[in-house]
Point group: C2
Chain length 338, copies 2
C-alpha cells in the first residue's frame, strides 16, 4: 500500500509499505477513505518535535472496515467508520467520565496518512455510520476524527454557555472549528482573533460576530473594549505558545475560563498570576470519542459544515505538498484522498 | 483605641492608635466584636512578604456598626455585621458574576485586629444579621469573613458535587473549612491530607472519611489507592507551595479539578504537564461575599460549626501570642477579643 513517511523535518515521502494486519484481537484494519494533515504534524515537520528515524505519520481518518479481530463486536467489515486520533476502550472509569484520551488503556493509531490503517481498541474507538455517507459529507465527517472534536472540547473546556461571550485565539483549523463549537453551544458573541483574510471570512461564516486582528497586549485591549472592560466569559486557546496562552488568560474575565487545546510548547503558567486572575483553566488532548455520536448527527443533519476548513484536497501521493502548503500558511488544512 | 501593628517579621505589638473615621460616603466604621489571625498574616510575620514599615494588620472581623457614611443604606448603626476581607460594590459585572474579590472597585479593609475598623464600600461588603447572635455562634460567624468562605470557594472551584470524591491538601484552618465545604456540597468521600493528630481529629469531625499522612509522591500514591487508581474528582489546594500544588495536580483524576486557595508563593505550572493531565484548575482570593447569606444560614441553623477551627482565644492585647502560637503550629487559628 501507499503510506506517508516522515524521514526528517521537512522531508515527507509517500512510499510503498506493507499493509497493516490485525495484531490484537481488539484491533480493526480499515481502508482509508480520507485522511488529512494536522497542525500537530507540523511540529515534527518543522523539527520542533524531534524526528530521529523515518516513521509513518498521520492520525486522522475515516474509512471502511476491512477486517476485525476476534474480540471486536461493535463494528464489522464493510461499515463506514470514524474514530478518534487516540484509541480508547470506552469502558474504563476515565472514559466513563468522558476523558477518553486519558483512557487507562489508550493506544495510538499512527500512520493514518496511508491506504490502510490498524486501529487498536476498535470497539471503543470507532463509531460506524448507519449507511455510507454522501460524498460531499466526507470532509466534515473526517474533521470529527480530531480537528472538529478538538474545537468542540476547547469550547466545552472553556465552559461556553448559551448567551456567553467567547474569544478564539488561533485561526488555524482547530480555532475555526472552535468558532463552530462556540456557536453551537450558544455563545452570543464570538470574537475570532485572526489577521488572515480567508480565515477571517471562514470564521465569520462559521458564526464569529467580531474579528480582532491585533495580537498581544493590543489584542487583549481590543477584547476588553468589546467585553464591557472585563474580558470574555470563555476563551479557546488553539495555538500552544507562551504568547497565545498569555493572551488567552489576559482576555478572560475574572471567573471566566480558558480551554486550551493547542499542544503547549514551552508554556509556563505563573501560579500567583493565575490566582489573582480568577481564571479557570482546562486543556488537553480532546476526548473526541465522547463527542462522535453528537457531532455525527450535526454533520449528517447539515447543522455544521466543518469540512470547509479543508481548502486544499490532494491525492495521498502528494502529501508532501499538503505539508508544505500548510507550513507556508498557503492552506488552512489539507485533505488527502488515497 | 487598641490596634495590632506589625513592626517587622516576628514583631507584633498591640498599641494605642487613633480611631478610624468615615473617609468616603460609602464607608462604615464598626466596633469589632471578634477578629482573628489568618494564615496569610503569617507570610508577613515570617518575612516571606516584606514588611518595610510598621503597619496595621488583620482582615477578618465581625462587629457592630458604629457609624455609616451618607451613601450607605444597607446597614445601620447598632447592627451586627459580617463582611468580606476584600471590600466590593456587589453591583459591578464582576460581582454579578460572583467574583467579588475581583470587583472593579475593590478595596481592602486593613487593620482589623483592632477595636474599631473602617470598612470601605459598606453596602456591598457587609451583611447584617437580623438580630445579634448568641455568643457561642460568634466564632463560626467570624470564620465567614474569610477562612470558611475560602474553604467554600476551594470546594466550589474544585467543582465538588454530590457523590464525588474530594481531597483536601493542607490541614490549616482553610483546609479544615474545606472539609466542611466538601461535606456540605455532597462529597461522598473526603480525604484529608494531615499528619497532625489534633487536626486529623477535627477533619474527621468535620466530615473527612479518610486521613492520609503521607506527602509528596507517597501521598499521591495513597490517594490513587483510595480512588480506583485514577485520582480524585476534586482536590482543594489550601497551602500555596510548589510542592502542594504538584501534589494536588497529581492527585486529581483526568477531567477532575483543582481549586487552589493557598496564595501561591513561587508556584510555576508547566503547560504541557497540565495539558496531558486533563486537570482543570481555578483559584484566587475567595469571593466570600457571594457566600455570606448562605453560610450565615448554615451557621445560625447549626448545620456547620466552623468556629471549631479556633483552638486559641486571646484578648486582643495578646495578639502577639496568637501569631507565635500559629507560627509554631501550637494553634490552628487564634481568635482575638477586643
Amino acid at each position: 500500500m501507499r503510506a506517508t513517511i516522515i524521514h526528517a523535518p521537512g522531508d515527507i515521502r509517500v512510499e510503498n509499505a506493507p499493509e497493516p494486519k490485525i495484531v490484537a484481537p481488539t484491533d480493526a484494519v480499515i481502508r482509508t477513505v480520507a485522511t488529512c494533515v494536522c497542525g500537530s504534524d507540523l511540529w515534527s515537520y518543522r523539527g520542533i518535535n524531534p524526528v530521529t528515524e523515518p516513521q509513518p505519520i498521520g492520525h486522522e481518518y475515516v474509512g471502511i472496515v476491512e477486517e476485525v479481530g476476534s474480540d471486536v463486536s461493535n463494528v464489522k467489515p464493510g461499515q463506514f467508520v470514524i474514530g478518534s486520533f487516540i484509541a480508547s476502550d470506552n469502558t474504563c472509569p476515565v472514559c466513563r467520565a468522558g476523558y477518553h484520551t486519558s483512557c487507562r488503556h489508550r493506544d495510538f493509531p499512527n500512520g493514518c496518512q496511508a491506504e490502510y490503517v490498524r486501529i487498536p481498541l476498535a470497539d471503543g474507538t470507532l463509531v460506524a455510520l448507519p449507511e455510507p455517507p454522501a460524498e460531499e459529507l466526507i470532509p466534515s465527517l473526517l474533521t470529527l476524527s480530531d480537528v472538529m472534536g478538538t474545537g468542540w472540547y476547547a469550547a466545552k473546556a472553556a465552559e461556553v454557555r448559551p448567551g456567553s461571550t467567547a474569544v478564539v485565539v488561533g485561526d488555524g483549523a482547530v480555532g475555526l472549528c472552535g468558532v463552530i463549537a462556540a456557536k453551537e453551544l450558544g455563545a452570543e458573541r464570538i470574537i475570532a482573533m485572526s489577521r488572515h483574510a480567508p480565515r477571517q471570512t471562514l470564521a465569520l461564516e462559521f458564526g464569529a460576530t467580531d474579528v480582532v486582528t491585533e495580537r498581544g497586549e493590543e489584542g487583549v485591549a481590543r477584547v476588553k473594549e468589546l467585553t464591557n472592560g472585563i474580558g470574555a466569559d470563555s476563551v479557546l486557546e488553539c495555538v500552544g505558545t507562551q504568547q497565545s496562552m498569555h493572551q488567552a488568560l489576559q482576555s478572560t474575565r475574572p471567573g471566566g475560563t480558558v480551554g486550551f487545546v493547542g499542544m503547549p510548547h514551552g508554556v509556563q503558567i505563573d501560579g500567583q498570576e493565575l490566582f489573582f486572575s480568577h481564571v479557570g483553566l482546562r486543556g488537553g488532548p480532546a476526548p473526541v470519542r465522547a463527542y462522535l455520536p453528537d457531532l455525527i448527527d450535526r454533520v449528517l443533519s447539515g447543522r455544521i459544515n466543518s469540512g470547509k476548513v479543508f481548502d486544499l484536497t490532494l491525492p495521498l501521493d502528494e502529501a508532501a505538498e499538503g505539508y508544505k502548503a500548510m507550513d507556508e500558511r498557503r492552506a488552512i488544512k489539507a485533505l488527502l484522498r488515497p
